[in-house]
């Protein structure tokens, strides 16, 4: 027996469904459709583009330089995701075991770090890694080395700054599932004879695997779009596809090709994420 308010309830349900659809349409689908449209447009040198249907821009992506950069972007995003999980997961695990008050203080601190923009982080690390003002001088002061040296531009500097940028996100994404983890689960492992280390790797990590995968995917997607840090702290061989997209859009005024590269990067990302999710589901079923 449904109450009389049935029809009204359904209508409200429809309306509730329309709102997210509308927002996704406005903020995601329309810009995305525009980008796709531009990616097949005809380029007019220095005049932006005319709408057309050309595959040229996509054909150009298969030049070795773009493929190599794509591979590098995927690789560095995966590496940063792995490092962030390796640091962020144990950290968050211990964080959720602290008293409530300490947890709140840590989360506030992490949110504060999160408020730093990529621009600020890139330039702060540039200073920190420089020879004249950087941490090399601390090593000199400690007598570890004779002369300060600069640590950028380098691959390590790019990875370091990217990890710094996305680590807070990984903590925030891992925090809810880890704080929901029954504390008795690791205790049960301890009682069954597992050392703390073995408990962590043999029980906590496997139990949390879905959460870890979700966090890793988020970090990966976030990192693969990074532009400023590779640009500022890397040598050209450490530039990501995003840097080349910016070069095309801003410096070469080649919007169609920039849009094609961006669509390509997005397609690659979506395919990789789907693949990971598929593997994850298959393992779960096994």
């Amino acid at each position: 027996m449904r109450p009389a308010g049935d029809t009204a309830g359904t209508r409200a349900g429809h309306l509730a469904g329309i709102y997210p659809a509308l927002m996704i349409g406005i903020f995601f689908l329309i810009p995305f459709a525009l980008m796709l449209a531009v990616s097949v447009a005809h380029r007019v040198p220095d005049g932006f583009y005319e709408f057309a249907f050309e595959a040229d821009n996509y054909r150009r992506i298969f030049e070795p330089v773009y493929l190599r950069t794509t591979l590098f972007s995927v690789g560095i995003a995966a590496l940063v995701a792995a490092i962030c999980i390796a640091i962020g997961f144990p950290f968050t695990y211990h964080l959720t075991r602290l008293p409530r008050r300490a947890q709140v203080l840590w989360l506030i601190f992490i949110l504060a770090v999160l408020s730093l923009s990529e621009v600020l982080i890139a330039f702060c690390w540039q200073v920190l890694l420089s020879r004249t003002a950087g941490i090399g001088n601390v090593a000199v002061w400690l007598g570890l080395v004779e002369r300060a040296s600069s640590f950028y531009p380098s691959f390590g500097a790019v990875v370091l700054a990217l990890v710094y940028l996305v680590l807070p996100y990984s903590v925030l994404v891992l925090y809810p599932p880890l704080s929901r983890l029954e504390p008795e689960i690791p205790e049960a492992a301890r009682m069954l004879g597992a050392s703390p280390l073995r408990t962590f790797f043999g029980t906590v990590v496997p139990v949390m695997r879905p959460a870890i995968t979700a966090a890793a995917i988020m970090i990966f997607v976030f990192t693969i779009g990074a532009y400023l840090i590779p640009q500022v702290l890397g040598k050209p061989e450490h530039w990501t596809l995003s840097v080349l997209i910016t070069d095309q859009a801003v410096f070469n005024a080649n919007m169609p090709f920039a849009a094609a590269l961006a669509s390509f990067l997005m397609a690659i990302t979506v395919v990789l994420v789907m693949a990971v999710l598929w593997l994850e589901r298959r393992q779960e079923a096994a």
């Binding site: 040198p45 220095d46 330039f123 420089s130 080349l244």
Partner: protein, 374 residues
């Protein structure tokens, strides 16, 4: 944010002598003028003449040193427009012209965008009779359409030279070839884009007897291959000038291509840097005054161009802005020191804008492949 602005300014012409200090001052001036603009607009006069110069230090300098004197001399009010560099401003002018609007009557344009505007006949032909000072301007600084009509007149020019830290290198380098020397490993800062670094022209002039080799794509590939050899010596490929200037002053990156004028200013401020014109010449690049065909103030625009082409104003610009004059030296009252501060007698390396017009995307791709190769 300011850093991003600078990066963008490096796009095509150049970000004129933008240092952190200048950008800050420029930004302040920009903010002030934006706020003040509605009140400055004179009630008595008709429309002011809108003049566009690259936003930042350049625009600030013109507002301070040129426009007031010009208004005093001619009675024509000027509204200063901060224009973005690169193709952006060209696209804006083009789209506005289609609607019959001119966001600026007179604009400073350099390099490829200037040529593209010309091929689109976006620039109004000028009446040279109304610009008597054109007689002083060196022929290389007068741009004409195929039918012989003049559309662009040089405003200022600037040099890219080989700059170095005097502490790290007590002896000044003599040649661009020094950048390839084995002892310069990991010490150079170079501009990261082909169309603003002009490294193709530099390499061609240093190793292939001149820019002629760049007339074919095979030739460009050869030059790129030679340029690739300099990569182990490059510490920083910069798009953001401020970054390199800081590193050069600190000695962190003790050598590289940079702007002659800014380096001179830094040296005058006591930093251990010097700018050297290599024996092959510095790279000269210039900003030209052009008038949008949609402008309804062609007469006033011509008066303005005539004014800035006068030897006196050119000398002022050299002294105050640090740019090289477009008027032959004999017409100027610049001392030897003042002249050396902004230019050199060595014949300059001239950018081959036409190759970027013809093969822009191709060059950009080969270039990217070259510098990003591991």
């Amino acid at each position: 944010m300011k850093t991003i602005d600078k990066t963008h300014q490096g796009a095509s012409g150049r970000a004129h002598g933008v240092t952190r200090r200048h950008v800050l001052a420029g930004a302040a001036a920009l903010g002030a003028s934006a706020v003040a603009a509605p009140f400055i607009r004179p009630a008595r006069a008709a429309e002011p003449l809108k003049v566009g110069t690259y936003g930042g230090y350049f625009e600030e300098s013109f507002v301070k040193h040129v426009y007031p004197e010009f208004t005093k001399a001619t009675g024509i009010e000027v509204q200063s427009i901060a224009e973005p560099t690169g193709s952006t401003w060209l696209v804006q002018l083009e789209n506005a012209a289609r609607a019959g609007i001119a966001p600026a009557d007179v604009s400073m344009m350099a390099g490829v965008p200037r040529l593209r505007g010309a091929s689109a006949k976006l620039w109004a032909p000028l009446d040279t009779a109304k610009i008597p000072n054109l007689a002083n301007v060196s022929s290389g600084f007068i741009e004409k359409y195929d039918d012989g009509s003049t559309y662009g007149v040089g405003a200022v020019s600037w040099y890219i030279t080989l700059c170095s830290n005097t502490k790290t290198f007590p002896d000044a380098p003599a040649s661009w070839a020094d950048m390839w020397a084995a002892d310069k490993k990991d010490t150079l800062g170079l501009l990261a884009l082909p169309q603003n670094s002009f490294l193709l022209e530099i390499t061609a002039t240093t190793y292939f007897g001149g820019p002629d080799i760049l007339k074919t794509q095979e030739g460009i590939e050869k030059v790129l291959a030679k340029l690739a050899e300099v990569k182990p010596n490059v510490r920083l490929w910069y798009k953001d000038e401020g970054t390199f200037q800081q590193a050069l002053q600190d000695g962190e990156i003790p050598m590289g291509q940079y702007y002659h004028d800014v380096t001179g200013l830094a040296a005058a401020d006591g930093f251990p840097v010097r700018s050297t014109f290599p024996k092959e010449g510095g790279v000269v690049d210039s900003g030209f005054w052009v008038v949008s065909k949609a402008s309804k103030m062609l007469d006033q625009a011509q008066t303005f161009i005539d004014y800035t082409s006068s030897p006196a104003v050119q000398a002022t610009l050299a002294r105050k802005v640090g740019t090289a004059p477009v008027v032959a030296r004999k017409h100027l009252d610049l001392s030897d020191d003042e002249f050396a501060a902004v230019a050199s007698d060595i014949p300059p390396i001239v950018p081959q804008y036409d190759i970027y017009l013809k093969w822009g995307d191709w060059i950009s791709e080969k270039w990217t492949a070259m510098i990003t190769a591991g």
